[in-house]
């Protein structure tokens, strides 16, 4: 990492650390949304940007993380960490199972298969009414206190307290993912994306690598969902819908899929853009759609254009 980047990064972390002192509760909440979407999109992009697999059903893991955390906090323990970890674990297990089937395919077939599994989870959330509360959602999830062994307990009632919890978890998770993509494992994934045949000839079991990437990806999506449940106190099937799956895709594309930080920047852009547009017009779909178009077409000369050149070079 270059020194300037490092300094900028430190500054950003400092700013995020003191943010509750500077901004009102709403902006803190928006930042929480950015952090959670960043985790979701980073996880998604491990599959998409690094491995070349476009998942259209990642909301399945996001929603599973949220529902499982909600159920644990409601019925098992009133302690934040076991709830969040438990929810994430359930989502990861689901990714293990779904991933097993999905990674046998690539391209559009992979996307469609993930869409199918994603919508199955959506149907389950909608129809398993005794457990999930149906379309009314799982209500009454407590924002449980953070209990640390040794008897310490921090209340999470105030959004600013919960913000610190999410911030620390997110930073740790991003660090973890950064380590993963820069390990030899990450390099192999990128190799698979660029030329899977060559990697296979080198004796690397690419399906297993894809599978592992899928599971890690599901872990991060699940973690994002797990953090959501205590914040909103409610989880509804919309969390598993395909429109939710499209959010990390849009965020990653906006920010750039071939850089590590792309999805994070994209998440901030995605949320701020919509928030700005809905303040000015009821016809936010129209304005939002036009902005998406402009970014996409405008970037042809910019980031995307660079991407094409980069690709052309890589092929040569």
């Amino acid at each position: 990492m270059k020194p300037y980047t490092l300094i900028g990064l430190c500054l950003l972390i400092v700013v995020l650390m003191v943010l509750p002192l500077l901004v009102s509760r709403f902006y803190l909440y928006i930042t929480l949304q950015v952090l959670m979407l960043s985790l979701f999109a980073l996880g998604f992009n491990l599959l998409f940007g690094y491995t070349g697999l476009l998942s259209f059903g990642h909301a399945a893991f996001y929603a599973t993380g949220a529902y499982a955390t909600g159920l644990i906090l409601k019925n098992v323990t009133n302690s934040l960490i076991p709830g969040v970890l438990g929810g994430t674990l359930v989502a990861t297990l689901l990714a293990l199972i779904i991933g097993f089937f999905c990674v046998r395919h690539t391209d559009v077939y992979f996307s469609m298969l993930t869409l199918a599994f994603g919508m199955m989870v959506y149907s389950l959330a909608w129809k398993w009414r005794d457990v999930t509360g149906g379309d009314d959602g799982l209500i009454g999830i407590p924002r449980a206190p953070l209990q640390i062994p040794g008897g310490l307990s921090f209340s999470m009632k105030a959004v600013s307290n919960y913000y610190y919890f999410v911030l620390i978890v997110t930073l740790l998770a991003i660090l973890l993912l950064y380590t993963i993509v820069n390990s030899s494992f990450g390099l192999v994934l990128q190799g698979i994306r660029e030329n899977s045949n060559r990697v296979e000839f080198a004796g690397i079991p690419i399906k297993r690598y894809r599978w592992i990437a899928f599971v890690i990806s599901g872990f991060f999506a699940g973690l994002a969902g797990a953090l959501l449940a205590p914040l909103e106190n409610t989880v509804a099937p919309a969390a598993a819908d395909w429109t939710k799956s499209s959010e990390p895709i849009l965020a990653s594309l906006l920010g750039g899929i071939h850089t590590f930080a792309g999805p994070i920047v994209g998440s901030a852009l995605f949320i701020l853009l919509k928030e700005t547009v809905v303040r000015h017009t009821e016809y936010w779909l129209l304005v939002y759609g036009i902005i998406l178009l402009l970014i996409l077409l405008g970037l042809r000369g910019g980031v995307v254009g660079a991407l094409i050149q980069f690709k052309a070079k890589a092929k040569r």
Partner: protein, 425 residues
Amino acid sequence: MGSKEVGRRDFLKYGISLVGTGVLGSQLVYPLDPVYAQTEKKGKIKDPIRIGAQATLSGPFGGYGQFMKMGAQLAVDEINSSGGILGSKVEIEFRDEELKPDVAAKNARYFVDDWGADFLTGLDASSSALGVGAIMGELDRVLIVTHGATEKLTENLVYKQGIKQIFRISVPVYQDGIAAAIVAKDFPAKRWVTIGADYEYGHTAWNFFKATLKKLRPDVEFVEEAWAKFLTSDFGAHITKVMAANPDGIYSTQWAGEAVTLIKQAKLFGVFDKIQTWMTPMGAAMDVLEGLGKEYPEKAWVTCRYWFQYPDTPENKAFVARFYKRWNKYPHYVSETTYSAIYAIKAAVEKAGTLSTPEVIKALEGMTLMTPAGKRYIRPEDHQAVYQVPWGRITHNPEYPFPTLTDLKVIPAEEYFRKPPFVEA
């Protein structure tokens, strides 16, 4: 308006500082929203009083947001042109809840924490009402729901969990399920089926209907159920399924465009030649009446959450006339409930003499309001407004460009509103 501009500038700064990774630390130092700070001052009524409203404004049900806006705008204009609330003007802003609870919760947070809303209102989807309701304790403003009909909002969140900031001005699913059964007990129909909306609303309404009707008429049978998922456009399968059970009566919980589609298709499948009675709780909504027009069968029994011809009071007639004059339309039920919600806010603030949330809650609890839909009594236990809406049968009345109701059945609210402690039906 001045403070709104500050809000936007704040927002822009925030964006710059976040995306720009804190190039300039000084950019980040800006004051808390002045409006927000002002509400903390005790006793002083601020100007304007802000109401944050939410409705579904996009997608297949987007019309409902439009109907809500009409009622809200009329109320706000009336109040402002006659001196406001304790001399303060009222300002209302609408946001799209998209029928998604997470969007609704974000909107609510924006309204309260950034825009400086003193009250929240609206909400179409039950899930959105519950999603916003869940965080009302944290936001600590009064929310008056004007459409979302799940009984969980008042029975569970208010009564059991004690989130006292939530109120509901519109009649909940008791109207759709329990009142329907009290009406149905007088019909000869014995074999009942449902073509149900396959979501909580449809299931709850059908369960209430079955439980109540079975108690009143032990001889009835419930012989078949066909559940149609959200946004179904072909009901052929569901119609065929229930008709195979030879029903006397069909109870269906589709609403808005789905109700129009279902009834149109049921007609083509010859359903109305075979059955005695059809019941669709939200079938008296103005959009359904207009959507079906002459095709609306006279065998259909319907209601909604306010019917513009009931009650026959001068207040209601004057409201309908004012509404028609303003919008060249008859009021939809969500127009009336939202209109009345804003007047409930006015009455509560005037009674409390302050915007302080606990005081306003106290003022609303047990209040009786004269509204177009008649007297509404706000129950202190669950914060549900108690009033009655008639059921009626469809008739084609040449005086109106849409079908209207006849044979009105008015059931006293005490008979069909569930009461605390809300034991299972």
